[in-house]
Amino acid sequence: MATLPVFEILGFPVSLPILVISLLAVIIIPIVLGKLLASGSKSGPSSVILLAGPRDAGKTSLLLYLQEKTLVPTQTSTTPATIKLSPSVLSPTDSQDEGTSTKPFHIRDTPGHSKLRNTAINTIVQPTESCIGVVYVIDSAVLSIQARVTETAEYLYDLLLAIQKRYATLSETSTSAESVPLLIACNKNDLFTALPSAKISNLLQAELSRMKETKRKGLLNAGAGENDDEDLDFVLGDAASDQITWEGLKEFGVDVSVQSGSVKGGAVDGWTSWMSACLDA
């Protein structure tokens, strides 16, 4: 039996197998650790279109309609879902006009329950998260009830404010900040009680204006001023006037458009073309 060569390192005799094993260990362990880490930290999805809106408006239905091209039964969501789609799903079914980009994009569906709205808000406010557009899905058939208008406008107010904040933060750091466009998708226009999109647009602008006024007059938040939150003096749109119009919001980086449609009736072409415009932008 041939004696294995023995090296001497720092005065200790070390045999070859031990040396090899320890060298291997030194090389392999960082690799394994690195792999473990890499698997854990996924970078967020790119080109995200956000679906937001009050409960029972049809966000998840719209998402699944885009994916499956059929109406899929849904229930109230409790967690957000991000789905990767190819841009071809946005092109109208009959025309073969492929979008200019073929890069897949993501749609993030968020829960509409008022306790769970901060997922959508957070996605917008975080400048690191990708968000190329927000589709605010609303139920146009219930807007004849004042309480539902209030509910719808309240969430919209928060979203618009978040978009404005994102624009403000981005424009501080870079010269060419891109604003996030928002589409108010008036779903369920196949129903008898559904209001036309122009009417909804006016209703929401009026409600938002009133909301802005009462917010200005309302009480301070608890804890306001303690840790000088930047939320304090942040109001939607022009600080000088309570009036909110879609045009007025444009200069604050909030681009709002309103379109009617219906997931159930399959009339989503307007929305999908808006989305593909977002993708192309």
């Binding site: 650790l33 473990l36 880490l37 698997s39 854990g40 930290s41 409960r55 029972d56 998840t60 699944l64 994916q67 499956e68 899929v72 039964p73 849904t74 229930q75 109230t76 969501s77 409790t78 967690t79 957000p80 879902a81 991000t82 789905i83 990767k84 569906d109 829960p111 329950h113 008022s114 306790k115 769970l116 709205r117 901060n118 004042q146 209030t150 509910e151 309240e154 009133r210 909301m211 009462t214 917010k215 007059k217 309302g218 009480l219 301070l220 938040n221 608890a222 804890g223 306001a224 303690e226």
Partner: protein
């Protein structure tokens, strides 16, 4: 599938009981004897079991005659379905798979999700195990790791003991079959062909319940006479193999039946595994409880001829039929076949039924008809059976395999954790587990989170959260964490902390708009009446102080406010308000607000004064009425009972309860009692948490009160001045609680 409509209307007539009808092939029932007679059995039985039979027996005769007249060549089976709906939903809201036996509004499940899952409001007494809505009971189970919810919906009248087992079994099956796919899809819709698996599981559980349940059911029957009729009776019968027993089964003459099995000539025969005693017990209970038809003649065995043993293979394509064939020996109960007059019964297992074609003496059909269908019958019978059996066996094996594997994996997980196999593998496993604690990627179990959770709980208790609330919040956080993976370099503690922050934020976030000014404006515009706010609470928490703060806030917004002094009990209360009113008037003169005090002295009924005050305000064109009430102890029934009348008379738009931030574990009970004090229709609308400046960061009372009732915090009192009123900032509160 010929003439399924023939009996459908009749079945639908039986309003109290929901019957689903299935076309079934002859052999699925076990033999040529089984034909429409079987339907009749079930239908008549159902009606007999109804608490108040609105449909006279004659209509049933009509059914049987119709059926006979039509000579249906397929067996129509009327199946009393116990389950109304079973759905598998992802947490992102997609219905992956659902099986509906009766139309159920989707809002039923929606309200389960929003009430229990999102707002975490368990119904009293449910302990988070069931949820009742309209006439339905919902039970559910969660698979947190794949984000699935399994919901079973059934009529509350039924006592289904096997629902939990079904949910558990379906969960294991579904996760095993589609778990990977669901994880990969990231919340999108996937195709699930789960029908067969579900049917088989349902069947086997029903069969199992059919054998064991009757005794339990007999015990429960007297408690609830209204439900036993269609509830207890139906829930026990395995409708495929055995109809529920008839009232009057308990009879000395019954005993021969059990031995009658050996003699194929005796028509009335219970199946081998059926338990005549238990079914008889149940029948007796039924009879006693309902007290109906005590003198009813016993089943007339003579006339129980298997009248039309026509072949029935028109529906051979039906996919469910093979499942029904499962485990013939396991049949739970005897099957009864009803004669033309609706009295005669015939019971026998399918083997018996096989022979019966040969032996039966059909009294109403001419014999010449019989052989022909028989011949066809046997032809298709064989192939179909073997096919069906094969398919079924396959499926059953598969299901068993999946379930076994799932439970094995579970056990493995447990043993692995407790005692790793070898020393070396134990060391490696331990090292990896230890490493994962730091590096992340560890799948959490209840044991892993125990330590972190108890740490967070202590933290919450230190923040003055009531123990009851803290325990429940921690429980729900822990449950939500099981099965989750830690992120890279994320410790369990930080994950638990994040989850707790989320939970607290969810609790504190209001579900309704709390913009008081806008609501006042809307009410003024739309209804031209004053907006009424009343303030209640325990003694000395600061009702009058907070009322005057709110008043000041409203006055600053140029509103006309009337303060109604409805504390007619404590001396000095009215004078105190008078001072406030005078101060506020002086302060607001420049702003343009108008304030007035409405007082009627002491000793009068507060509810009446409040009513008068509202009427006065309406006449004088006030915008807002603020009603101050006497402080009362929340556990004093005498004082609390007057609140119901108060709420009715004054009919406030908002009832706000003032709670001290100082109060500890009593806060939960205070909130609950006040919330319940206004009667069934009226609840509190919000809390004002006073004296927040005195507790520093120990604002746990916020959480306790909101958690106990699900009612939002509208205002916080943060000082002694009129201006020291704030709205709640959820981010701020959560920050304080977690600091």
């Amino acid at each position: 599938m010929r003439k399924p409509q023939a009996t459908r209307p009749v079945a639908q007539q039986l309003g109290g009981i929901r019957l689903s009808m299935y076309l079934n092939t002859l052999h699925c029932l076990g033999g040529p004897i089984a034909n429409q007679r079987y339907i009749i059995t079930n239908v008549i039985l159902s009606v007999c079991l109804q608490p108040s039979p609105t449909y006279p027996r004659t209509s049933l005769y009509f059914l049987s005659e119709t059926a006979a007249a039509h000579h249906l060549h397929c067996a129509l089976l009327v199946r009393p379905i116990m389950l109304d709906l079973f759905e598998v939903i992802t947490t992102s809201g997609v219905v992956l798979w659902s099986k509906s036996y009766a139309p159920v509004k989707s809002s039923i499940i929606n309200s389960l999700i929003s009430d229990v899952f999102i707002e975490e409001r368990n119904q009293p007494g449910s302990d988070g195990k069931w949820f009742k809505k309209d006439s339905y009971t919902l039970k559910w189970t969660l698979a947190a790791d794949v984000g699935l919810v399994f919901v079973a919906v059934y009529q509350s009248l039924l006592h289904l003991t096997w629902i939990d087992e079904l949910l558990d079994q379906v969960k294991k099956l579904f996760v095993a079959l589609y778990g990977e796919k669901i994880k990969a899809s990231g919340g999108a819709k996937i195709q699930c062909h789960f029908d067969q698996y579900f049917e088989a599981s349902l069947r086997s559980l029903e069969r199992k319940a059919g054998g064991s349940a009757p005794i339990r059911s007999a015990n429960t029957l007297p408690d609830d006479p209204s439900s036993e009729g269609n509830g207890g009776g139906l829930s026990d019968g395995d409708e495929w193999s055995a109809p529920p027993p008839m009232p009057g089964v308990k009879n000395p003459v019954e005993t021969p039946y059990s031995s009658g099995k050996s003699n194929p000539l005796i028509e009335v025969t219970p199946s081998t595994t059926s338990s005549p005693v238990s079914s008889a017990t149940m029948a007796q209970a039924l009879l006693q409880a309902s007290g109906r038809r005590p003198g009813r003649p016993r089943r007339n065995r003579k006339s129980a001829g298997p009248s039309s043993a026509s072949s029935a293979h028109a529906s051979s394509g039906e996919e469910r039929s093979p499942a029904r064939l499962s485990n013939k020996p396991k049949r739970g109960k005897e099957m009864r076949i009803w004669g033309e007059d609706g009295i005669a019964a015939d019971a026998g297992d399918e083997r018996k039924l096989d022979y019966s074609a040969g032996i039966s003496t059909d009294d109403e059909q001419d014999d010449s008809l019989r052989p022909k269908p028989e011949a066809i019958d046997q032809d298709t019978w064989g192939t179909r059976t073997s096919q069906g059996d094969f398919l079924l066996k396959d499926l059953d094996h598969e299901i068993d395999g999946i379930l076994k594997e799932a439970s094995k994996a579970e056990n493995n997980g447990e043993t692995n954790q407790k005692r790793p196999g070898g020393l070396a593998s134990g060391l490696v496993g331990g090292a990896m587990g230890y490493l994962r604690n730091f590096v992340g990627g560890k799948t959490l179990t209840r044991e892993d989170t125990d330590k972190a959770i108890s740490g967070v709980m202590t933290h919450l208790l230190e923040k003055n959260v009531a123990r009851e609330a803290a325990v429940q919040i921690c429980d729900s956080v822990q449950t939500s964490l099981i099965g989750q993976k830690t992120g890279s370099f994320q410790s369990i503690e930080s994950l638990v902390k994040l989850a707790m922050e989320d939970a607290l934020r969810k609790i504190l976030t209001p579900t309704t708009s709390l913009d008081l000014l806008r609501e006042i404006g809307q009410v003024r515009e739309a209804e031209q009446r004053p907006y009424v706010i009343s303030i209640v609470g325990v003694n000395g928490v600061g009702k009058s102080t907070n009322l005057s703060k709110i008043c000041f806030f409203l006055l600053q917004n140029k509103l006309k406010v009337l303060i109604a002094a409805c504390d007619t009990f404590r001396s000095g209360a009215v004078e105190q308000l008078r001072v406030h009113a005078r101060n506020l008037k002086e302060l607001s003169e420049r702003e343009g607000g108008v304030v007035e005090l409405y007082e009627k002295g002491y000793g009068k009924d507060a509810a009446n004064i409040a009513k008068d005050a509202v009427a006065y305000a309406n006449a004088q064109g006030f915008d807002v009425v603020l009603i101050d009430t006497a402080g009362r102890r929340h556990n004093d029934q005498r004082l609390m009972s007057s609140l119901e009348k108060f709420a009715k008379f004054a009919d406030p738009d908002k009832i706000l309860m003032v709670g001290e931030a100082l109060v500890g574990s009593d806060s939960v009970q205070q909130a609950r009692n006040f919330n319940a004090a206004f009667g069934k229709e009226r609840k509190l609308d919000g809390f004002i948490i006073s004296k927040c400046d005195t507790v520093g960061d120990m604002v746990g009372t916020l959480i306790s009160m909101v958690f106990a009732t699900g009612i939002p915090v509208v205002f916080l009192g943060v000082g002694q001045n009129y201006t020291d009123l704030r709205t709640l900032n959820v981010k701020w509160a959560v920050g304080l609680l977690m600091s």
